[in-house]
């Protein structure tokens, strides 16, 4: 299957594959963890049963997604060594401690309090349970903070020296952690996680509203999700714009690839809406473009000059086609999210939020689009920084471990088979849970002796847990 490929190509495919699978789960669990903390807080404050119903519903969905995130994440922490050992040796002194902080301040926090959040309300009481729930949410955000600092340092390395054996060594930790692209990337990613969650919650709410528009829990989650969308989508578009300007400053070649600017434009660059990149001829075929708009967006000046890829050496040029398309997918989806949010706001103002069936259908269609946008965004930034692992300093081809191509090919094949099997099954279970209304007492087994005799959930057999009883 992978005959004739080099170990480098295979290792890159393996990293792209495993990291793409992995990012899907945190992108969702960061948002759901915060959502759960909000739901639990609202339940404790208002004692409105609907919040507890929603908490218990999303908690179970969270548990499955979080489990998948944990196991796919463990793979990542070892893959730097197995496939990218030279990179690990050279960057370890800088990136290693940041990752150690992620483990210490985030992973343990999540794992330590997750058990109490899932199983422990009865044992520890409402207040400590709320604390545990908040700690899980806080842990997911800490995790995002550290790992994005790591990623950002690779994109915009500062605060380092190079020692006699060629390792990057720390000189200023403050500069390293708060490197130039980190604040933008962090905001952009956390907002993306919140949007992704809002879209999933909105999609599930929309589905159940289509079936029963009187479903109180579905109404509540749909309404919360649509508020989130209309508030966060504009923020995200603004954050993305700032991130782009930051990228232009530090990684201009990436922006050139995103924009499809093969040529320099000394007096105002056009915004290419669509077109077909032609890497051989170094131009965009069939380009539909708006003159000078790119300069306006990136430089806030219609006539500002913008360099093109003709100023970049061929061996330093990122793969334009992938970046060009993934960027457009992300932007289009971002505006679609804004559109859905605006539509819901209009309906809400008219008091038709729970009645407009086309809105609910649109929410279902948009349900998974957060994941697509997150993946497209990461493809843009990661492919756009090629051919470097540490931007401008360490080439991807110089980062590889001394591994044999057959070993990488075999493990890649194993990862592909296992991931599709395991995460395919997990996605199936998640969808099946989401397919049931929030007030369903049992999201697990449909029937059989287990449900009645074995794993009867304590929470749902509580009278307080079932609305209306």
């Amino acid at each position: 299957m992978f005959d004739g490929m080099t170990a480098e190509t295979l290792a890159r495919m393996q990293f792209a594959f495993t990291v793409s699978f992995h990012i899907i789960f945190p992108a969702f669990s960061i948002g759901v963890a915060s959502y759960l903390a909000v739901l639990n807080g609202l339940w404790l404050r208002t004692r409105d049963q609907i919040y507890l119903t929603l908490f218990n519903y999303w908690k179970k969905i969270f548990a499955v997604a979080f489990g998948m995130g944990v196991v796919s994440g463990i793979v990542m922490s070892y893959q730097f060594g197995t496939n990218w050992a030279i990179f690990a040796d050279k960057t370890g002194p800088i990136l290693g401690p940041l990752m150690a902080y992620e483990v210490l301040s985030a992973f343990f926090l999540e794992a330590g309090f997750l058990g109490i959040m899932l199983f422990g309300r009865k044992r520890v009481g409402d207040k400590l349970h709320m604390f545990a729930t908040a700690m899980v949410a806080f842990g997911t955000l800490m995790s995002a903070t550290w790992i994005l600092s790591v990623n950002s340092w690779m994109q915009t390395p500062v605060g380092y020296g190079i020692n006699e054996v060629g390792q990057f060594v720390p000189e200023d930790w403050w500069q390293i952690v708060f490197n130039p692209s980190f604040p933008y990337r962090l905001v952009h990613m956390v907002l993306a996680a919140y949007l992704t969650t809002a879209l999933v919650v909105g999609g599930v709410g929309g589905l159940h509203l289509l079936r029963d528009r009187a479903d109180a829990a579905a109404r509540r989650m749909f309404s919360m999700a649509m508020w989130m969308l209309i508030l966060v989508a504009p923020l995200q578009i603004a954050a993305g714009d700032f991130h782009g300007i930051n990228t232009l400053e530090h990684q201009p070649a990436k922006v050139m690839a995103m924009e499809g600017h093969y040529e320099s434009h000394p007096d105002g660059a056009p915004l290419i809406l669509f077109g077909i990149p032609n890497p051989e001829e170094k131009r965009i075929d069939y380009a539909i473009q708006i003159p000078k708009l790119s300069s306006l967006i990136l430089k806030h000046d219609l006539n500002a000059p913008l360099d093109g890829l003709d100023t970049i050496a061929d061996e330093d040029e990122p793969p334009v086609t992938i970046v060009f398309w993934s960027f457009r997918v992300m932007v289009v989806l971002g505006f679609a999210m804004l559109g859905l949010g605006a539509w819901s706001l209009l309906r809400r103002v008219r008091g038709r939020l729970y009645q407009d069936r086309w809105l609910h259908r649109a929410a279902i269609v948009m349900g998974p689009m957060g994941f697509v946008a997150v993946l497209a965004g990461w493809i843009t930034t990661e492919v756009g920084r090629q051919p470097f692992t540490v931007y401008g300093l360490l080439r991807t081809s110089d980062s590889l471990a001394p591994v044999a191509a057959p070993a990488v090919a075999a493990s890649l094949l194993a990862f592909i088979m296992v991931y599709f099997f395991i995460f395919g099954a997990g996605t199936f279970y998640l969808l099946r849970m989401m397919n049931k209304p929030a007030a369903t007492p049992h999201l697990g087994l449909k029937d059989g002796p287990i449900r009645t005799a074995g794993i009867t959930p304590i929470l749902q057999t509580d009278s307080e847990a079932i609305p209306g009883k």
Partner: protein, 333 residues
């Protein structure tokens, strides 16, 4: 200021040991899963570890991440050398990790996830044992990278340590279940634990005898001071732990067998430490050579000193919350 790297060697050793004893018993529960009779016992066994397995496994990330942070060269050399066992271990951990959630989400496929739980635990334990054996044999380093082939880890010795870890983890798992359950399941585990204890001690003996033959250096460390003190003390300590284990089992005690089994693991770990020191990757790479610059060590150490005690505190609290015998009725599914 070479002391920082030795403090860190201690921290990493602590993280790895914590991982081994914590995930050791929950992998052991997975290995013993086929001995559960009926759904109720399966639920009991799984629920005994469901709230804590995730935290236990985080110590593995701490071991890997910590090695990357403070001994990047060791990390960069060991991972390619142990490529296959590490990848297989990771894949096995995926299977068993998702089984905790998946088995409650389906009826027809429940058996599939039960098998995944068992096989995943078994393979993960076996691969960890193989990795240990391969490390003891020594890893070939050329320049600043791994210099051997991708099958070097496979040997009779590493297969032997693989089985040793499987049996040892199963012992930890059996004694954990004794601690957390009562009735028929507890009695069956008491019977099993007896055989597993005998097996573990047998493997400890065989591996201890064979280890010095992997590298003459190991001989010297055990026969010269200060190692020779341990050469006298270790067998005595192992003997006491073994006696406590069997006495606890025979007397039907709840906690004593688990604690005795844990101390056996601690002793073995100390023994490996004596063989290795001052190397981090035998036979060529020392702790000081593999260490990151002091700025990295210090920066990471500040956080470790503050956060690890907090982690231990809330981990202990979590165990406290879920103390006592497992009620198979309790769950959230």
């Amino acid at each position: 200021m070479f002391e920082l790297s030795f403090i860190w060697a201690g921290v990493i050793a602590f993280a790895v040991l914590t991982y081994v004893i914590l995930d050791g018993f929950d992998l052991g529960v997975g290995i013993l899963f086929p001995f559960a009779e009926g759904e109720r016992e399966k639920a009991t066994m799984m629920n005994s570890i469901a709230p804590i397995w995730d935290g236990n496994e985080t110590w593995l990330v701490m071991g890997g991440g910590g090695l990357f942070a403070v001994f990047p060269l060791a990390y960069a050399v060991v991972m390619p050398a142990l490529y296959m066992p590490i990848i297989l271990m990771l894949l096995a951990l995926i299977f068993r990790g998702v089984a905790f959630e998946y088995r409650w989400r389906t009826h027809r496929w429940k058996l599939v996830w039960d098998i995944a739980f068992f096989c995943g635990s078994l393979v993960a334990a076996f691969m960890q044992g193989i990795a240990l054996g391969a490390l003891v044999q020594g890893i070939e380093v050329v320049g600043r990278a791994y210099g051997g082939g991708w099958w070097d880890w496979l040997s009779v010795f590493s297969i032997l340590t693989g089985f040793a870890v499987v049996v040892g983890y199963a012992l930890l798992g059996a004694t954990w279940i004794i601690l957390k359950t009562d009735g028929a399941l507890q009695r069956r585990m008491q019977g099993l634990a007896w055989w597993l204890a005998a097996g573990t001690l047998g493997f400890i003996g065989v591996v201890s005898v064979l280890t010095p033959f992997q590298d003459p250096e190991y001989f010297n460390r055990w026969l010269n001071l200060p190692g020779s003190i341990f050469s006298v003390l270790m067998p005595a300590a192992v003997f006491i732990a073994a006696w406590a284990l069997f006495a606890g089992l025979n007397a039907g005690k709840d906690g004593q067998p688990f604690l005795a089994a844990l101390s056996l693991f601690v002793l073995c770990f100390v023994g490996i430490g004596i063989s290795f020191y001052p190397h981090i990757v035998p036979p060529g790479l020392t702790i000081a050579e593999a260490a990151a610059p002091d700025e990295s060590l210090l920066f990471a150490l500040v956080g470790t000193v503050v956060l690890v005690p907090m982690i231990l505190a809330y981990t202990a609290y979590s165990y406290w919350v879920f103390r006592g015998k497992v009620d198979p009725e309790e769950g959230y599914h």
